[in-house]
Structures are given as structure tokens and as C-alpha cells.
Amino acid sequence: MSASMPGSVAPRRQGFWDWRAACNFIFGGAGAGTLVYAAVMSPPSAGPGLLGLALVCCGLLCVWFEIGRPWRALNVFRHARSSWMTREAIVSLPLLGVGLGAAWYGSRWLPWLTAALALAYVYSQARMLQGARGIPAWRHPRVVPLLIATGLAEGAGLGIVAQLLLDPATLPGWAALLLVGLMLIRELAFVAYLGSLGPAEAPTRARAVLVRFGRRLVGLDVAAIIAAAFGTIEPGQAWAVGLAGLVAAFAGGWFKFTLVTRAAYHQGLALSLTPVRGFGTTRPGARPGW
């Protein structure tokens, strides 16, 4: 049975969370990843750490511009029992505090505490998206490892760029390897997510958007890996590793923008059974747009 539904019955793209909400995930995830990268660097380098904190702040600022009643924003802390938005807000406080402390004192263990909080932050963001049960492409459980993986890849990419710009001597040779490894993990997480997003899991148009994006992600990741390899093999070409980092971060940001705005089709309305008025019999249901 085919079904076409006039009006807004079939899933349509949500319009509640626009680029400002997307930027919270883009900057917040990349910022958290950068803070993890900053901890992994030994000795700790202040550049990536400060960049990570700035990105997290930018993300929070973007979401503040998005909400309808910004002067009541502190109410966001009222529902830690079940809201991942509250939990994200709560984690952001010690993250920013400890992160600033780590940058200020240059201690060896504070960056690791910051990294743990950053992981909690990006995990909260991922669970926040998964908690939106009205958007099939978001509520899939594999969105969580994917958002964490891309945050870490973006963070490594941006951390490398920050080190190259501020203090190139602190950039170890294995940073490019770390970046490539994280990009491969992200790619695997994306393939696993998309592979499990079957016709029963998401509307047709949402899946089409993600399939299209998947091809672009592969292209960008391959380009970044080639640049990273070139920068590592060729002496004096560290800029190529920086370029790989930028591409890795851009690809992750583009993915999150696509997921939050472009692939964000609602559940849509559906009939479990098709009713009859007058004569005839009840028929099987219809789920248009799926």
C-alpha cells in the first residue's frame, strides 16, 4: 500500500534547533576533544588547553543565543535527575574552572582532571542528542560513540594546529599518528551508526542526507590522512600535519551541523491501522516518509 499525506504528516525537518544549537555541539565537542588532547601532550602545552576552553565557552554562548528566555538561563540547572541538558550545564562549571586552573598553574595532573571532565562533557552532549526521542536520526544509541569519537578527532586536529602556531617545538612526531588513529575510529563509528540506521530506524530523507554526507566524510578523512602522512614523512613539512588537523576538525564540525540541522527529520505521524468511514474494512496502517 502506498501512502501520501498532504500537509505536514510525513516527517519534516525540525526547526527548533538551528545553527546556534549545532554550534554548541560543534564547539563543545571539539573543545572537549582539544582538552583531552592537551592532557595527552607531555609536558602539558597551555595552547591547546586554552583553545579548548574557549571553544566550550563559544558553544555555550551559541546555545544561550538560541533559547527563548535567555535571562532565565540559570533554570537549566533544575533537573539533573533525568535531563542531559542539565547535566551538560553542571559539568561545564568544573570543566571551565579546573581547565583554567590547569592552564594557569601548569600542573601535571590538573590537565588530566580537565580531560576527565571534558570526556564527561562530550558524553553529556552525546546523550543529550540521543535523548531527543522525536528525532530518529538522533535517538539511535550509536550516535553516542560517534559524537565522542568525532569530538576527540576534532580536538586532536585543533590541538595540533594550536601547537604548531604557538609552540611548534612541543609537537611530538606521534601526534600525526594519534590524529590518523582517531580519524579512523571516527570513520568506523560513522559506518557503524549509518549501517544500523535502517529503514525502520529513520525516515528515508534523513538517511539519504546521512548517506550523502558519509561520502564527503570519507573524502575529507582520506585527504587529511594523506596530508598527515606527507607532513610526517617529509622533513620540514609540519604544516601538512596542521592542515590534516584542520580538515579533521572541519569534517567533524560539518558532520555535526548536518546531523543537528539537515538530517533532523521528526518522527512524523502514522496510522497503526487505516480506519474506515461508512462501508469497507479496516486496513493495515501507514507510515509515510519511512
Binding site: 500500500m1 502506498s2 501512502a3 501520501s4 499525506m5 498532504p6 500537509g7 505536514s8 504528516v9 525540525q14 527548533f16 534547533w17 546555545v63 538560541e66 533559547i67 527563548g68 528566555r69 535567555p70 532565565r72 538561563a73 533554570n75 537549566v76 540547572f77 533544575r78 533537573h79 533525568s82 535531563s83 542531559w84 541538558m85 542539565t86 550545564a89 543529550m128 535523548g131 531527543a132 526521542r133 522525536g134 528525532i135 538522533w138 533532523a264 521528526h266 518522527q267 512524523g268 505521524l269 502514522a270 496510522l271 497503526s272 491501522l273 487505516t274 480506519p275 474506515v276 468511514r277 469497507g280 474494512t281 479496516t282 486496513r283 493495515p284 496502517g285 501507514a286 509515510p288
Partner: protein, 222 residues
């Protein structure tokens, strides 16, 4: 003996065999609640199924389903969205920050948010719109509340929501074909319990575990 209304579970029962898609309920809701243009807490969707020449049109009234396990409430960071003991899901406009997390968590697309006041006829409000205008509803999430003021007015008066029109949602009162019914699912003697006992029904997106409080009646199973 009358059942204690404080332990009710109010639900909506929609008889899809009767709805003719006239949108009288849509208009009654707009009139009763003063919702701005583009916001329809109650609407009737027109669903066309089948292949020519064997096509069928179904008219399906939808509004907030007042879910028993509302995803909108779980995600709300401010606790502005709450569920009452009688099953009604409401929003405290003074707490809401307008983050719209609830709107993306609702699988039924029944949440609305408008940032600026708009009116049906150009710039200014009509006298009716001016009388109903509520600035507290700007920049926050809104939705159908099952006309909770009317339900509350029944308390202690001996009147029964779903039976006595003054304490029954406006859409139910307005329905010209008797397709909309409202009442207490936990009362085995109620109008809605009887309808559910005597008819086949389904609930939309039940598989998502929301325990929706809107039941659609159909004529048997295929």
C-alpha cells in the same frame, strides 16, 4: 459511587470512523486558547492511503497525547514540563527557558514556540486576540493542556470531565460528529473505559514507549 477525580487518568478517545475532517475542533481550540497564527494545539490531519483507484482518506485529530511516560518531561532541564497525578502534562511558563529540547523530544510534533507576538489580521490584535494575549507564552514552549482549567473546575463540584460540557475540553464539546471523547481511563464505569472495552483501538507510536493518552477507535482489525 463517584470515583475520586484526584486519582484519575484523563485520556482522549478519537473515533476515526466518525471524524469527517471539518476542523471544528481546531477552530474551537484556537478560540478557547487564543493560540497565535501557525500554532495549532489541536488539528486534524488528512491522510491519504492506497493507490488509485483504491484510495482512502482518513482524518486524524492530533494534539498533545499527554503521554504516561512523556519524553518531553524527562529531557526538560528546568522542570517546567510536569505531569500531574491525573495524567495531564503541563508547562510552567515562568520556569521554561525556551530551549525547545522538549520539542525535539516529542515524537508527535505537538510542541510550539513563538518568539514574537503575531496576529491573524496584520500588525495589531483583534479585540478577541487582545483579550486573550498572554506575553508569558512568548519565547517558551506551549502545547495542548487538555483545557486543564476546565478539568480543575470540576473538582469538588460533582461535575465529570468528559460528561459535563463546562468541565470538558473545548475540542470535545465542539465536535459535530461525536468523534472526540474525554474521560477517566482509570474509572471502569467512565465513557472512555466503555468505548475502549467495546471497540478496537490503537495508539500512535506506541512502540516508542511513551504510553500516549490518545486512543484511536477503528472498526475491527484487517
Amino acid at each position: 459511587m463517584r470515583k475520586d477525580p484526584a486519582v484519575a487518568r484523563y485520556i482522549m478517545v478519537v473515533d476515526l470512523r466518525r471524524c469527517i475532517g471539518c476542523q471544528t475542533c481546531t477552530a474551537a481550540c484556537k478560540q478557547a486558547n487564543g493560540t497565535p497564527p501557525g500554532v495549532q494545539w489541536r488539528r486534524v490531519v488528512d491522510i491519504e492511503t492506497g493507490t488509485y483507484p483504491d484510495v482512502r482518506r482518513s482524518f486524524v485529530p492530533v494534539s498533545c497525547m499527554h503521554c504516561g511516560d512523556p519524553p518531553c518531561m524527562d529531557v526538560c532541564p528546568t522542570r517546567a514540563t510536569f505531569k500531574r497525578d491525573d495524567g495531564l502534562v503541563g508547562i510552567d511558563y515562568e520556569l521554561c527557558i525556551g530551549c525547545a529540547y522538549c520539542a525535539v523530544a516529542c515524537p508527535y510534533q505537538q510542541r510550539f514556540k513563538v518568539q514574537r507576538a503575531t496576529f491573524a489580521y496584520g500588525g495589531g490584535p483583534s479585540p478577541a486576540e487582545a483579550a486573550q494575549f498572554d506575553p508569558a507564552r512568548l519565547g517558551v514552549s506551549t502545547k495542548c493542556n487538555f483545557c486543564s482549567d476546565r478539568i480543575d473546575a470540576a473538582r469538588g463540584t460533582g461535575r465529570t470531565p468528559g460528561i459535563d460540557p463546562e468541565v470538558t475540553p473545548a475540542c470535545v464539546n465542539s465536535c459535530i460528529s461525536g468523534a472526540l471523547h474525554f474521560g477517566d481511563r482509570d474509572d471502569p464505569q467512565s465513557n472512555v473505559s466503555q468505548l475502549l472495552r467495546e471497540n478496537e483501538f490503537f495508539r500512535m507510536h506506541e512502540e516508542l514507549g511513551t504510553d500516549p493518552g490518545t486512543y484511536y477507535l477503528v472498526e475491527g482489525r484487517p
